[in-house]
Symmetry: C5
Subunit: 328 residues, 5 copies
């Protein structure tokens, strides 16, 4: 579905145009076309491919989806020009579950085409931002738009990271609470899965962004290389946070297991202590319950209270001993 | 066993030919021969080696089998030309078990020879696909055929990955189910083994494919380098998925252990609680079963009901206490 | 909030100056301006950006804070000069918790601007040190000041490392103490978190410092490269210590778990041993408490003492056996 | 102990010769000498060192033994020629234990000297193989002999790997067998040790072999570089197998621990269930064994059968409950 | 404290000299001075710094101590000459504990200065060795002395490694012994700590030594590069041994935990089995101890022996069952 198709000249919006007229604008100097599609059909992609001469493999990737984040350079245009094909993951939170969408971006010297799949949030804010900065847009062209898109995508990762971090912190307080082991381990597992999903979005994009600044940068991005370094920097930070979160979760799983084992030992100790106290009582009662004819103490006047006292005294003594040994 | 032996000129099929006549076709311009063998004998390999001047070490590898996936370049032909020798793993699922076959491919400037071992699925679809695209075949030659074969091999990995992923997901729902720990751990172990087997097929091939695009590419592949990058990309994705699966399995094994330990603690607590309740009852019954002459309560009219009531009351109190402490 | 704004000429303090007059001093030869801000507002940053021509992305980072430690080079000044932007973490201990502040430093050929955020400790000592060494200051200029700041930041990491190391060592003595498992695991977890926090401060800074000596060094730092190697060296040492601490903590967590499990087994053994001894006593007492008419031993004169002796003997024998088997 | 000392000219055996006459042959064109020693004494090594001008450090290594596998290049001969010194591990199985021997090889332009230590298996087969291939021997010279030796050493690793793999596979079937946990863990530990020992032999040799093909290859090996790549390839495969084995063992140790824990929980559950059933019986019997005067049911005609029935019914009910809960 | 101060000319000892006269000798051709200090004071270091023009940062490091092992190159002498500063760890065993000392070495074209700190063992043997080899000393100069010192330091690591290895091996025999779990885990922890301490000494030194042979070697070491490769080689071997030891310890900790868990299960099984046997006896005795009026078997003549027989038979049967199930 077409969302936008606009031509820009020297950084200023020229016109919204129907797809068929793109060709006219591409020939004008200092002009580029910016098209945004959503959940594009095969026909729409085919039309785009024809209009801009996109590489068949890139189109195939965009059609199939489920790509790893990446930035690829294609350079077999007839005029020796190179074009870029980028895949980025869009992460939306939906009722506590993370959902992965994708945005595919094709960037040439005079066009930029973005195809958003399986994600509800649009990128109209990016267009507005670019139009507010005509100087930068004029200087950077499609490369700057690409940067602005990427920046928006990456900015949307931050809230997820922050939520993860605060969930981890909340768990840290819970982890030493007795009786919460089962729910903690379930939460830890779920957090680990979320962190992994985000990592799959972030790490490959970070690696790709690393190639857009520094030594050998694709032509279309050279004028925006400081901006791409900034994105690379943000991705590095997110990546480090994710590594930290994953490491903390691993430690927390181990710690949780240790705490369960400690809990088990404490239960065993209390069980053993009480079992001991009652075993003594039962054994003594059993002995005085034996049917021997000659058991003098049975006939004593205060035999019974003495028996009770003995049992109570032994029990008390054991209780005190176990208490001292921290078993009770 | 010979499956096919066909000559192609400028991308079009020229003729199916007997092995003896290969030499005639090799001398024609813009022509290459494509031979497919299955479970080749030493004699067949020797004949091929002679016909195309294959390197003895490559032939030996193809004969012995059980190779790691790889792409090797040989360059001591008399005319300074280089040839490639590739090994790829073919994974078939057979009654829930993965079975590893191999395909060995020899690629020269005017020939491509594939030898399939220990796998039931043929590659006739690849031939059909290539013949439908004569332009690409004419441009890329044996290198393009090599790409098409590799693409088919890699495409066959995807269903295995998807099956693994859905098995892991199914396990995730089961892992928090009580009483399934033993079968879960068995499944996790089996999944780990499958993931390892696939990893052994994918990672070395990914590394090899990485050398077929980018900086220094063997001559025979240069015209298809974008295609090989596409394959490299697919393999990178599969590899990342496998790493994710393995990581999830590891976490799941740990989580499973934690859950078993938690289960154990819960069992211990219930055991301890009930043991306590009955120990009290038994001790009291034992005391009133003692044979002392002077035990006044034994003669009370309501002594027995009182005793029963005491035992029940103490039991009830303990039950309530254990309930409160979440031991029951 | 402005803390200092001073001009230096050939290593000597020229004058404290109001921010508006910076421009006058920048034009003098062999002169540079050193400004220190604390928790700078957006307006202050904007003014600085205008005065020194700082890059918008660097300013944005400084404004938002929560950056990863880094040293970035910007080189699109009109005169081809490059400037640096550095982020370092400041770690303060506050009632046993580590708190992370930041210092952002902008370094150009004739200025150095430091912005300290969220940290109570100032860097006046650095200024004093630099002014005591006019020769070095004259030779190294803003690069030397940058070194002195970094050196002070890194020096402040050492006490944290030492405290961590001594806490770990204290734990090592406690870890084999019975009954401390729960508090040990809690402490280990807390230490792990502290070590992780320090690692996030140290490792990226170490990587950044590695680029300030050796092959390709930013212009402004070339004359101080031995100093930066020294810092790199300190950071490498801290980093190695942190890795050692983390490794030790991991091992300690495992060892703690093992000790808990051993403790559990020992408890089980003692429980089993005592349960066995009393079970025998109770069973025997029960048997002699049965109401059969014909139980000859019940009428023996020494039946009762014999019964007690049997029970005691059996109990003693079992006790001795369990003692021998180290269960008691 | 000298095993062989033979001169070869243009790939053909010239003569077996006494050590003293080596000098004569070294001066002939296209000739090289191949000497094999076993458990060489210091004197023998000194003689060799003098004859061929071997480097003192290499001789020292060969004398002391217990070296890591390696291939070192020495290039301070007077004539600018380089020589190689290689160390490889020989692994023999002896009553189920792996034993490590070493072979040290010195390779120059006109000689190759091998010293075998602490290993019973000789390399006569290598000599026979080389003499059967005079063409290759003539072309490759001492470098080819070096290859043939290395190939033989590496070929002898394969059976160990296969035995390890089949032992691991056998364990996999045993691991889910109840009651074998203790012997499994012992075997797993032993397998891990064997895998580690083989890894110490394989990985450094693989790294060394990686430098004998590809970019910068020592002179003496250039003509055999395809052969060294083949060896490198084999070592890579062995190395990957070993990594797989080690990974499987690690997982198996974890799985084994999980199974022990599950086993423990099952035992606890059965213990708890039976303890519960009998506790009820004992408590009831105790109650009816109390000596209260007024216990009407004691005088009922069918009091006793009723009591037995009650106990049996309760026991049966509990049994059924535990059965349902999978505790029994 | 000064230990030695000697001048060497063309490899031969010229004279022991007082520190003040060093300057005279430095001007003679082919001459260098070798000074050894022990636990040097700040004054001694200052004097040395002045005499040889040592870099302030190196002096500071030597003064503060607690450095990581390293080899640093300083090259801002006025005459373009470079000097080296090396730090190595000295490990002494003291009553079973490892103690870390340091040796700092400053190497220039015509001097070598070593400062030994916190270690009782001197390096007089190194001096003796060098003086026995005047040729090498003449050729290599201070670089050769540096090598000889390093060689001595590294040689002293070997006994520690061997002791560690034999301690690990001794533990391996103990690990499967029942009842030693607690002492084993304590020893494993201590071994891990020792291995970590040695690793901190070895790994950085190995990395540093790696830069003293191969491509870009400091001037002063070029003539001894084969010797440094030999040291690098030794360090690589030690490093690999340490990695092996650490890996074995990790596995042993895991195995120990598994064995404790298995032990626990076995104890539980025995506990359960005996508890079962006695519970049956007690329940039966309790039943026949009930006070019902009509319990016909109580009046049977052989009622009592029959009861005992029943109890014994049931007990025996259970014992046999548990035995069969390997619980006893």
């Amino acid at each position: 579905m077409l969302i936008n198709c606009t031509a820009y000249q020297r950084g200023h919006k020229l016109a919204d145009l129907p797809v068929e007229r793109i060709g006219d604008y591409l020939q004008q100097p200092d002009t580029f076309v910016w098209i945004a599609l959503e959940d594009a059909t095969a026909e729409e992609l085919a039309l785009m491919s024809e209009t801009f001469g996109l590489h068949e493999l890139a189109i195939e990737d965009a059609h199939h989806g489920h790509q790893r984040p990446k930035v690829e350079e294609y350079n077999d245009g007839d005029d020796g020009s190179t074009s870029l094909f980028a895949v980025m993951h869009l992460i939306d939170e939906n009722e506590g579950r993370l959902q992965v969408g994708e945005i595919h971006v094709f960037i040439g010297t005079d066009y930029i085409l973005s195809v958003r799949n399986n994600s509800a949030r649009d990128f109209l804010g990016v267009r507005a931002r670019c139009e507010r900065e005509p100087k930068k847009l004029a200087k950077g062209g499609p490369g700057y738009v690409f940067y602005a898109l990427m920046d928006a995508v990456v900015d949307r990762y931050f809230p997820h990271i922050e939520r993860l971090e605060s969930e981890v912190e909340a768990l840290e307080d819970r982890i030493f609470t007795k009786g919460a082991a089962r729910s903690n381990i379930r939460r830890l597992y779920r957090l680990k899965r979320k962190a992994t999903l985000l990592k799959h979005a972030v790490t490959p994009l970070m690696e790709a962004a690393g190639k857009l600044h520094g030594g050998r940068v694709p032509d279309v991005c050279t004028k925006s290389r400081h901006y791409f370094r900034d994105i690379y920097d943000h991705l590095t930070r997110i990546n480090a946070s994710l590594d930290g979160i994953r490491d903390t979760i691993s430690t927390a799983i181990q710690v949780n297991l240790s705490l369960v084992a400690i809990d088990q030992t404490e239960v065993s100790k209390r069980l053993a202590a009480w079992a001991g106290i009652f075993a003594v009582a039962t054994a003594l009662a059993g002995i005085w319950g034996m049917n021997f004819t000659h058991m003098p103490e049975l006939d004593w006047k205060y035999g019974y209270p003495m028996a009770l006292a003995t049992i109570a005294a032994l029990g008390g003594f054991l209780y005190w001993q176990f208490r001292k040994a921290k078993w009770l």
